[in-house]
């Protein structure tokens, strides 16, 4: 497989994953805007922007944070390199180059998404259309992921999934970083309105709202939620699940075993730790510190992959 092909495949699934994350974040912000909030309505939009890693770019463009602008910035704005629109545009132009390493279905999934978002962008949309836009985005990304099931299980497949899980690990961790205070131990069960809102933001933006209820019995506690999102390897967006899958698709690569080993060695410790650790000791160590370390590690794995395989 051409190095350039591997690189493009890796980025296609990163872009598609990022498109979904942004859409989910917007959905969370939208839900929150429907609830009364003693701190004012705009706080959630700020944390949505922070979780999307877009706060600086947004502030360069706008002075105030308000729903319509945030929606536009995160969804359609071509100035925001991570907007859903740009993610799909980039995924599509990469896919155009590597469509030979794809199935026709995967290409169709991305190209149709592109054709439709061009039309959506030309329609003036209302704030109330946001749930439709979010739903549409998630549907399109699912269509793309579904199409991958017919791919040959070769290195191209593994690079696609490496991209997906590196992006997801990064997105989940950033979201936890923005909201980690929600997960700090509290004297009593989570119950108040604010708390309720905060943890449901977290779970919803990680598409784990219903799943959490099924995974844990009894009362909702911040520790259980932290355990679910950090350590529970049944949760497809937990840090643990992401890192396990990075390791899996990395070690499944058949090309260049020495490069694979080199990267694997830098990941090994974190992987073991996250499988064996108890949530209590992570919280004792400092959840924020843990998540920060995690983000740095993923970012160095990302640059290792790019350096070793794509250059």
């Amino acid at each position: 497989m051409l190095s350039r092909t591997a690189e493009y495949l890796y980025w296609i699934s990163r872009y598609m994953e990022r498109a979904e994350t942004n859409a989910r974040l917007l959905d969370v912000g939208y839900r929150m805007s429907l609830f009364p909030n003693p701190n004012g309505y705009n706080n959630e939009w700020e944390s949505v922007l922070a979780a999307a890693g877009a706060i600086q770019g947004y502030k360069n463009k706008y002075n105030i944070i308000e729903q319509k602008k945030v929606e536009d910035y995160l969804f359609f704005d071509e100035d925001n390199p991570s907007s859903v629109f740009n993610c799909i545009l980039n995924a599509r132009s990469n896919a155009l180059v590597v469509r030979t390493s794809f199935t026709p279905e995967s290409w169709l999934a991305i190209n149709k998404t592109y054709q439709e978002i061009l039309k959506l962008k030309n329609n003036n949309f209302n704030a109330s259309d946001l749930p439709n836009l979010t739903e549409w985005t998630i549907e399109q990304v699912n269509l793309f992921r579904g199409s991958l099931s017919s791919l040959l299980r070769n290195d191209g497949y593994n690079f696609l999934y490496l991209g997906l899980f590196v992006e997801r690990a990064d997105n989940s961790a950033r979201l936890l970083d923005v909201k980690y205070f929600v997960l700090l131990p509290k004297p009593q069960y989570i119950g108040g309105n604010i708390d309720n809102m905060q943890w449901s933001i977290l779970l919803r933006s990680l598409s784990s709202f219903n799943a959490f209820r099924w995974a844990y019995d009894g009362n909702v506690t911040s520790t259980k939620i932290a355990d679910f999102l950090v350590l529970n390897s049944n949760c497809p967006r937990s840090l643990s699940f992401c890192i396990q899958n990075i390791v899996k698709h990395l070690t499944n690569l058949t090309c260049s075993p020495e490069k694979v080993n080199k990267i694997y060695n830098t990941l090994k410790d974190l992987n073991t730790k996250i499988q064996e650790e108890k949530i209590e000791s992570i919280v004792d160590f400092g959840l924020h510190e843990f998540v920060t370390q995690f983000i740095n590690k993923i970012s160095s794995v990302d640059s290792d992959i790019q350096k070793e395989f794509f250059n």
């Binding site: 497989m1 051409l2 350039r4 030979t100 290409w107 190209n111 690079f159």
Partner: protein
């Protein structure tokens, strides 16, 4: 389709019945379906226009049909021509017999930019310079075919030939039950076999590694590049993926370097090797020409193959056929005046309003004059250009191109068509059982180029 005003040519009877049964509503639906399909698969092209990001070529639902016997003649004629063009290239890059025999004046060849001096004395595998030859043909009313031009570099359009058939089979399966249409879907396999049969001397495997070299996504034929490499199962590379080390060419893979034996290049000569050709090219592969000349890799088509499809050389192709093959040409040329001869030039200048004048190095239907369709002032403007640089032009009569039934706003109307079949030259010489039919969608228009409002049709060759 029509023999005269009211008589339908026999082999179109089935199609005519089918058309009569289709309502306007169905036609609209099918047109929309085809357009959506082409957009979805991404069979688009970019034009010189700044406005549209990507355009699709208009697709006409009515196929163009050839009978078996009609096609057999074309097939022999095109293969004959492709053989002669390759023989010509082998000759002018070696002994130059055709020049010594005073058939083609040497300045017509050696002074051309498309004549590649660095190819002199080198003969590519099997003496094939142009493995894919696209011959543009037109039919006049008297059921005669003429060659409009030859394409020996990297003729494009074969993806349309294949995709037009796919969409027709998908939308109108019944048509294919009632008509015996020769399949064309083995073209990519045959193309790959052709490329593999042209492995360089130093290649010691029975399964040479072939790649398609594309200039990248901004090229107007990019869809075709990715389509063909996908269908053949070979890598589509850009020049940055390739590098020369020692005697061989390699591509950069995640496994490390992998040797490449045959490059099906879809980039121009100028951009192949900055060490040999254009030193400012950023998209070339430094050193590839050395590897090529020492038998480490084959480049298809060969650098310098373009001289054979030069419009000034075109005039001599019938002579080439006689000279190299000892045969009479099966397909005729369109009568052509070459403006670098004084007699011809005077005739052309006197008859500008009746003639079509083309630039020798032009393509895409740009920069030409269609005398009978032009205003007095544009004829005069062209006269000045022509007089200033007679060598740069040829002239031909305006051909009475055949019409093919075409759906225009749900009505069947006659529109002018041409045909480009694709001839493969490798271990075997073979012709695709079909080709690209281009149609001038505008009423009265003679220009079929997609860049100027041309459309395409599925092209059927009926089985015997």
């Amino acid at each position: 389709m029509y023999q005269s005003e009211s008589l339908i040519r026999n082999h179109y009877n089935n199609i005519n019945e089918w058309l009569e049964k289709m309502t306007a509503k169905v036609i609209n639906e099918k047109n929309a379906e085809a357009e959506t399909h082409f957009r979805n698969i991404g069979i688009t092209f970019s034009t010189n226009s700044e406005t549209a990001r990507e355009r699709i070529i208009p697709f006409d639902l009515i196929p163009r049909i050839f009978t078996f016997s009609e096609w057999s003649k074309l097939e022999k004629g095109v293969i004959q021509r492709a053989k002669a063009l390759n023989a010509f290239l082998a000759d002018i890059y070696n002994q130059g017999e055709i020049i010594k025999a005073n058939i083609i004046p040497k300045e017509l060849i050696f002074k051309k930019k498309s004549y590649e001096v660095s190819m002199f004395g080198f003969t590519p595998p099997r003496s094939i310079y142009s493995p894919i030859v696209g011959i543009d043909l037109v039919r006049t009313n008297h059921n005669e075919y003429f060659v409009l031009e030859d394409n020996c570099r990297t003729p494009s359009g074969v993806s349309y030939m294949l995709e037009n058939r796919e969409i027709m089979m998908r939308m109108f399966p019944d048509l294919f039950h009632t008509n015996r249409v020769t399949p064309i879907d083995d073209y990519p396999t045959r193309l790959l076999q052709t490329l593999m049969s042209l492995a360089p001397i130093k290649c010691n495997t029975s399964e040479p590694v072939c790649v398609l070299l594309s200039p990248g996504p901004l090229n107007s034929a990019y869809y075709e590049h990715s389509f063909l490499s996908d269908q053949m199962g070979i890598e589509m590379v850009e020049s940055t993926d390739l590098f020369v080390e020692g005697e061989f060419l390699y591509m950069k893979t995640v496994d490390g370097p992998k040797k490449v034996d045959v490059v099906y290049r879809r980039i121009d000569d100028d951009f192949l090797d900055p060490l040999c050709f254009n030193p400012n090219s950023v998209i070339g592969i430094p050193g590839i020409m050395d590897v090529y000349r020492t038998g480490g890799v084959n480049i298809c088509s060969a650098p310098g193959a373009g001289i054979a499809d030069d419009k000034a050389i075109y005039i001599f192709v019938p002579e080439m056929i006689k000279f190299y093959l000892g045969e009479q040409p099966i397909l005729e040329n369109v009568q052509t005046w070459s403006c670098d001869k004084d007699d011809d030039l005077n005739y052309v200048l006197d008859n500008l309003s009746d003639l079509v004048v083309k630039e020798v190095d032009g393509s895409g239907g740009y920069g030409m004059l269609i005398g009978p369709k032009s205003s007095k002032s544009s004829i005069e403007e062209f006269r000045r250009k022509l007089s200033a640089n007679p060598r740069g032009y040829i002239a031909q009569p305006l051909l009475d191109l055949s019409f093919s039934p075409t759906l225009i706003k749900n009505q069947v109307e006659g529109r002018r068509v041409d045909l480009r079949p694709f001839c493969l030259m490798g271990e075997n010489a073979q012709l695709s059982s079909g080709g690209l039919t281009r149609v001038a969608m505008n009423e009265g228009s003679f220009v079929v180029n997609s860049s100027q409002g041309g459309g395409v049709k599925d092209t059927w060759v009926l089985a015997e």
